[in-house]
Amino acid sequence: MDLPASLHAAPRRGADAVRLWLLGWWQILLFGAHVSVLALAPSSWRRAQRHRIVRRIYLTTRPLLPGFIVLSALVGVVIIRIVLVTSQSYGLSRYAVEVLVRTLVLELIPLSAALFVAVRTTFADGDRVRAMRAARAFEDMLGRGIDPTRDLVLPRVVAGMFAVITLAVASGVVTLVLAYLLVYGFQSWGLPGFTRTVGQVFNPVIALIFALKTVAFSLAVSVIPMVTTPREKLAEALRINADLTRLARLLAVLLAVEVLSLIGNYY
């Protein structure tokens, strides 16, 4: 979308700023809906397209997986140790496993996975897509009979979503294993109690909210970097780093999803 000529200068009135802000969010929602419709359309999952998406998923997820698992394991060990020592000092060690599952697996790991994928992959992908769009590459592709949104953007969005979900689940499993080992050691007698506690935490409502939250994180991380909003165009025109604006927008969305999930879980 071309920027209106009146907005090439800095907005002097509050109404202009609000209009720009709303326009930006509207573009993001519109793009998200566009990509979702494409993702659900059977034509996007034809053989050639499917191969393209699967390859993009692998190229996006595989490089992130070991690094993130190691990182989350290291941070997880530190946090687990802190929680265990603190709970033991207060005589509340029986609540330690539940606290760990709730804080690490339910809250911190999905959020950190989303941010990790955003910083490592989807922001870079967004830059490429925007660069292609700026270079009029999309028009060339359309001229050659290729839909750039379906063939270029959709695989990246799906790959970003898949990467967030995969990293969250894999790190969650690793963190659960580490929590068990740090609480009970290399013994199997604690498994029934540990499993029971995990089952208590993951009641149907919390499991559903956890799944929805992770999907929402992955969607936000995959969609927001792909869209250039009017404010970012203005920022680029004023030689201000637009990536910071995009990152702030992404953080705001992640925070809103996190707050909503907390409200759903605990109210």
Partner: protein, 331 residues
């Protein structure tokens, strides 16, 4: 092989060998991981266990949440499935108990619900008689409620009273404090030069002197008593010889008793003679009784004769009307 559409110009990455195969493996791996996680959560929530229900009826379900444990001996054996408000206004806590753990619950089991100060409310089961019949599926039991937080105000009130009492007891002018001071003074005096005597009689010198004199006299008295006891011992020895010696009192008594036996035999013979005399007297008395009866008969006959004479005189008087003298003179 890379898709030319996918790579923006000037941003080509090195090709990945067997990309399709690896990509599919990643997809399958993640799908399996998700499936395993879902199955684990379902297993952890007891979805694959046969369960029976237990309904605990309580006045108040405050603190009870769906998913909390029912414990037996500290081990979770059941989980709150749902909480309902019954038609009688009481809370019905429906608990799912896995069948493999249900044998810990018996018909005589007791269930408690305890609210603690730290942490959530606890549901506990107690089964003292494990030989009783097992609890049937769908059984309803009344839960006994206890709330530690509710006890705090009572406890605080009691503690306040206790502290007030302690303060009163430990005050400077309290009875306990005065007693302890007295005890301390007494102890000091016990440790002093006059010892226990000083404690008992105080510091009065005169009394102490009198006490010394009394002790001396008592000692003298004890010495005399000792001599007296020795004399009593001698007397006792002599009495012993007199009583139990060869010509002693006991021997003579024994002879006297033998003689008394002979005398008693004589007395028995005399009594037999008296008995015979008495029998004879009895015979005489019977004879006398018979004679007395004969005298009765004789008297009857005399009375009959007199009546006949009287009737004769009356007849003569009737026939002899001139006679003045009606007096009858008996011979």
């Amino acid at each position: 092989m890379e898709d030319p559409i996918d790579i923006p110009p000037g941003d080509a990455a090195p090709p990945v060998e067997n990309l399709d195969r690896k990509a599919r493996a990643l997809l399958v791996g993640v799908a399996l991981l998700l499936l395993a996680c879902a199955l684990y959560v379902l297993y952890a929530r007891g979805a694959f266990e046969r369960q029976q229900t237990l309904v605990l009826v309580a006045d108040n379900s405050e603190g009870v949440v769906v998913g909390m444990d029912l414990t037996f001996a500290g081990f979770p054996i059941g989980r709150v499935d749902r909480i309902e408000l019954g038609a009688d206004g009481k809370a019905r806590i429906v608990i799912a108990v896995p069948v493999k753990d249900a044998h810990w619950l018996r018909t005589s089991s007791v269930f408690t619900m305890e609210g603690s100060i730290v942490g959530s409310t606890k549901l506990r089961a107690f089964s003292n008689l494990l030989d009783d019949p097992p609890l049937p599926d769908g059984a309803e039991r009344v839960v006994l409620q206890g709330d530690a937080a509710a006890e705090i105000p009572k406890l605080l009130a009691s503690v306040r009273d206790l502290v007030a009492n302690l303060t009163a007891m430990t005050a400077n002018d309290s009875a306990l404090n005065l007693t302890l001071r007295n005890v301390q003074t007494t102890t000091e005096r016990l440790n002093g030069p006059q010892g226990a005597l000083g404690v008992m009689f105080g510091d009065d010198r005169e009394t102490t002197k009198k006490l010394g004199t009394t002790l001396d006299r008592t000692n003298a008295l004890i010495a005399r008593l000792d001599g007296l006891v020795k004399r009593a011992d001698g007397i006792a020895a002599k009495a012993d010889a007199q009583v139990f010696g060869e010509p002693g009192l006991v021997g003579e008594s024994r002879a006297a008793i033998v003689q008394l036996g002979g005398l008693l035999g004589d007395a028995r013979a005399t009594l037999k003679k008296v008995d015979a005399v008495l029998r004879e007297a009895e015979g005489i008395a019977s004879n006398t009784r018979e004679a007395t009866s004969d005298l009765g008969t004789l008297r009857g006959e005399v009375e009959a004769s007199l009546r006949k004479v009287e009737s004769l005189v009356n007849e003569i008087n009737r026939k002899w009307p001139f006679a003045r003298d009606t007096e009858l003179k008996l011979p």
